[in-house]
């Protein structure tokens, strides 16, 4: 599908500023790094969580543990679609009981991914709190889910796609809006 | 017969040296030092040497019989490993393989070990052949691997055939792992029934129940085909019929893992000799017709048969003295062997003496994987000295076995063993 337009919304500096602010906000809201556990949602949530982890290390001089989740098994469309899980898979080594789990993802859209991630977390224990940090919130929720920490709000309409590119995965940091031909 | 220890230096002087490997027959002397081969050729013996005059005689490799029954354990009244050794020495045999149909049979690594240990005490080399099936019951394979480690050299249920074809297949299949010969006494027992001799004009004349040649040849053919299927080594024992000879000859054209033996009595006698109801001629497989005898001689000539083997089978006088139907099958044969085969093959059928000696020494050793070149310097001396032309009549006093069931008594033989050298000793016959 050819895109009819692509518009850069955040450049590399913008991305990094937002991520830094997210790190500060997480620390502020939770009164420090005590009992925090960062969990990145694969694919791009994971490198984001890693960045937050090292930023928190620099700011508060605390090593916050992190893990990652693959939501494949808890997708709510599993009855209709067969998705082969990623080889990397879910990786949570620490107990999540009584922790404040901060889920990290690149884009918050319908909220279904977050619901699946919370279901996946259920298999590991019972956190004290679950918070959500996203780089971009593009609206259009289909479930009652909200983010606690947002990098940038980017209102979109149907047919538009938010593309997040990260250095670790795509070679550069950038957020763009794209519209594809044939979409309504 | 007198056995003495070899002196430090012994020279066998003035004889003809027959080398069955190089296939030469020429004048020469043999020097044996400390019981080992030192040199062959023309030599002047030292003063201290024991010189044995071999003029008019042939000096060659010790004979090897790969098919004898020494009845120990169980029927020591018929033969023991010691008495069997004496019979062997009298016949020029330095090495034998004993069949496992003893009581109990040699069907376990323990019994093989027993035979090997007992054999060490005997004046000749004795190798046990292990049974194919436990108790020779035709149902369960023996522990071939373990038995080979203890010293078994081949496997056979001889005395009895392996009747179940599936079992024979399994035995051959299993033995391919070890590449040793499997020897099957080929006789269809259902066809044989109570047959005591060859089924032909003579058996009808004598009124004795008998079995036809296909009793043997059918099973020989079966075994040959199974060998082709499995790739095993097969050695066909005591072939008695023209048909079997033909099957073997044919199969050998395309398969080099098949060997076969023929006995002196099948070459020497025919069923016509049984006219006197002599129980010493009652053997299994039976002695057949003149036509079969001719075919066997031809088979020996053209290499269908690799070796001579006596199937030396001692039975007591009491057993053989009964009526023909009740007497057990078998005759002794070690002492009379050379004189008989030399007469039939060399003197009467234009056999080359070198070829005969190959059938008595090199070939049987090759089949069993024994050392074949006995003339190698440094090898312990294992030699037989014989008179190739001596005419003599086989008498009871020529027998050294515990048993005397020999139909050769009274027969004119040509060629006689004069001395046998093995295990550091020399046994001289009159």
């Amino acid at each position: 599908m050819a895109s009819t337009y692509t518009k850069q919304v955040m450049n590399s500096t913008d991305v990094n500023r937002s991520v830094t602010r997210l790190a500060h906000e997480i620390l502020e809201r939770n009164g420090g790094a005590d009992q925090l556990l960062l969990v990145g949602i694969l694919t791009r949530g994971e490198p984001l969580a890693k960045r937050l982890q090292s930023l928190i290390q620099k700011i508060a001089e605390v090593a916050v543990p992190m893990g990652s989740v693959d939501i494949t098994f808890h997708r709510d469309d599993f009855r209709n679609r067969l998705v082969v899980p990623q080889v990397k898979g879910t990786n949570i080594n620490n107990s999540i009981d009584d922790k404040t789990v901060v889920l990290v993802d690149d884009v918050l859209f319908t909220g279904r991914t977050i619901r699946a991630a919370m279901d996946e977390l259920n298999a590991f224990g019972r956190p004290q709190k679950v918070q959500l940090a996203v780089l971009v919130d593009r609206g259009h929720r289909e479930l009652p889910i909200r983010a606690d920490f947002v990098g940038k709000n980017i209102p979109t309409h149907e047919g538009e796609h938010v593309e997040v590119q990260l250095k670790e995965v795509d070679g550069k940091d950038q957020v763009s809006l794209a519209q594809f031909e044939g979409d309504e | 017969m007198k056995t003495t220890k070899l002196k430090k230096q012994v020279v066998l002087k003035g004889g003809m040296i027959l080398d069955p490997i190089k296939e030469t027959l020429k004048k020469g002397d043999v020097l044996i030092e400390n019981g080992k081969m030192k040199s062959i050729g023309k030599m002047t013996p030292t003063k201290s040497a024991d010189v044995i005059d071999c003029s008019g005689l042939i000096v060659t490799h010790g004979f090897c019989d790969i098919h004898v029954h020494f009845r120990e354990p169980g029927r020591e009244d018929k033969e023991t490993l010691d008495s069997g050794s004496l019979a062997a020495l009298a016949g020029g045999f330095t090495r034998v393989c004993v069949m496992p149909n003893t009581d109990p049979p040699l069907d376990s690594p323990e019994s093989i070990r027993y035979t090997v240990d007992r054999g060490e005490e005997c004046p000749i080399h004795i190798h046990p052949i292990g049974a194919i099936t436990k108790s020779q019951n035709g149902k369960e394979l023996t522990e071939m691997g373990a038995m080979l480690s203890e010293g078994a050299v081949a496997f056979s249920d001889d005395g009895l055939p392996v009747t179940d074809t599936g079992m024979m297949r399994n035995a051959l299949e299993y033995a391919t792992m070890f590449d040793v010969p499997v020897i099957n006494h080929a006789e269809d027992l259902c066809l044989k029934k109570d047959g005591v001799m060859h089924e032909g004009k003579i058996s009808t004349q004598l009124g004795l129940p008998a079995s036809p040649d296909i009793t043997e040849s059918n099973m020989v053919h079966r075994d040959l085909e199974l060998t082709r299927l499995t790739g095993a080594c097969l050695h066909v024992p005591h072939v008695s019929s023209a048909k079997s000879t033909d099957h073997i000859r044919q199969m050998k054209k395309s398969n080099n893992k098949i060997t076969a033996e023929v006995t002196p009595h099948h070459l020497f006698f025919t069923d016509e000799d049984l006219i006197t109801y002599n129980t010493d001629l009652k053997v299994a497989p039976p002695i057949r017709t003149q036509a079969d005898q001719k075919a066997l001689i031809k088979g020996a000539k053209d290499g269908t048969f690799d070796c001579i083997a006596t199937d030396h089978a001692p039975h007591t006088i009491e057993e053989k003295e009964g009526t023909f139907d009740l007497a057990p099958f078998g005759m002794i044969g070690l002492e009379s062997c050379f004189g008989a085969v030399n007469r039939v093959l060399v003197k009467e059928n234009k056999f080359d003496i070198i070829r005969l000696i190959q059938m008595l020494s090199v070939n049987p050793r090759k089949i069993m994987g024994f050392e074949t070149d006995l003339f190698t310097n440094g090898n312990p001396a294992e030699l037989t000295i014989f008179d190739p032309n001596k005419k003599w009549t086989f008498k009871k006093s020529d027998i050294y076995s515990r048993s005397h069931n020999s139909p050769f008594i009274g027969e004119a033989l040509i060629g006689r063993v004069r001395a046998t050298i093995v295990k550091g000793h020399i046994t001289a016959l009159v």
Partner: protein
């Protein structure tokens, strides 16, 4: 995701699909390490375990896999003596179909029975062992374990030791390993190696020490005691001397070799206790991978939408 609807055997099974199953199995290994070992992927799906032959281990492994995927499981054990061959098999199959089952996991003593089943019902059929023919899920878990240990299957040298001619585990392993580019040597008593084995693309060697020298891993098969003392094998003692993976034998070879066994083990016969319990043996990993790989197989065969037009 997988090209074939059923899993009847590994003969002709595509290499990409075997790799997909192995990769997915690793993901499910992680699920088995969680406190709550459950994912909802097969919720609402019904699977029948149809076992015409006794097997506790394989059945439990399948049941666990099914339950961890939130499927509903039903067990059917039948003794062959109570079944007249042919007629009742068809009846059983059609009864299942009438109950609207999604998949059948079947173990049957007759080679070809699972294929036969697919001709009578529409459900997905997974072969849990058909007589002396194939046992594809075992081979898959074996390959998953080898992949876990070595990181790859291509070029790996695997020796299969034991009663090959009566082993469905051996045959499936031969097909699977060859497809994935490994080399296989069979070793066992010549009476227990099928004729024409080399035609399958494997080597045959009766000398187990030579095979140990050559191989990266050994798959040691169970010797059934029923085979002893008959026309095929003389005794346990002889088998152990010639082919047993004993402590003495391994200590004669100064090399690291991975030891596998499908279980149950005859300690002291085909393998010594100390070998089975050593670090070289990955037997317990095989068991765990058994559940994980069966989860992967069920997930990939049953997950997602049912095809249109099914009853």
């Amino acid at each position: 995701m997988l090209q074939q609807k059923h899993l009847l055997g590994l003969e002709g099974y595509p290499a990409e699909d075997i790799q997909t199953i192995i990769d997915t199995a690793f993901t499910f290994r992680e699920v088995l390490d969680r406190p709550i070992k459950k994912v909802p992927s097969l919720q609402g799906k019904t699977i029948v375990n149809l076992f015409f032959e006794n097997s506790t281990r394989t059945r439990i492994s399948f049941e666990l896999a099914q339950k961890r995927l939130s499927a509903d499981t039903v067990n059917f054990s039948a003794s062959t003596s109570s079944l007249k061959k042919g007629e009742t098999f068809k009846d059983t199959a059609q009864n299942i179909e009438a109950m609207k089952i999604d998949a059948v996991v079947m173990r049957h003593p007759t080679p070809g029975a699972p294929l036969h089943l697919t001709q009578h019902i529409n459900s997905i059929v997974i072969n849990a062992g058909d007589g002396t023919h194939e046992h594809p899920t075992q081979a898959i878990l074996d390959m998953t374990s080898l992949h876990e240990k070595f990181g790859h299957l291509k070029g790996l040298k695997v020796g299969i030791i034991g009663d090959i001619s009566h082993s469905r585990v051996a045959l499936s392993n031969i097909h699977g390993l060859k497809t994935m580019g490994a080399e296989v040597t069979l070793c066992g008593p010549s009476t227990l190696i099928p004729p024409f084995a080399e035609d399958l693309g494997v080597s045959v060697n009766y000398n187990v020490d030579e095979v140990i020298e050559w191989a990266d891993a050994l798959n040691v098969l169970r010797i059934q005691r029923e085979r002893m003392g008959g026309g095929l094998l003389p005794s346990v003692r002889e088998y152990r001397n010639l082919f047993g993976i004993s402590t003495e034998r391994l200590s004669n070879h100064k090399k690291e070799i991975v030891i596998m066994h499908p279980g149950p083990i005859n300690r002291g016969v085909e393998i010594d206790s100390s070998v089975a319990d050593s670090d070289q043996a990955i037997i317990l990993d095989q068991v765990l991978n058994g559940v994980a790989s069966r989860m992967a197989i069920l997930y990939l065969l049953l997950g997602g939408k049912q095809e249109e037009g099914d009853s």
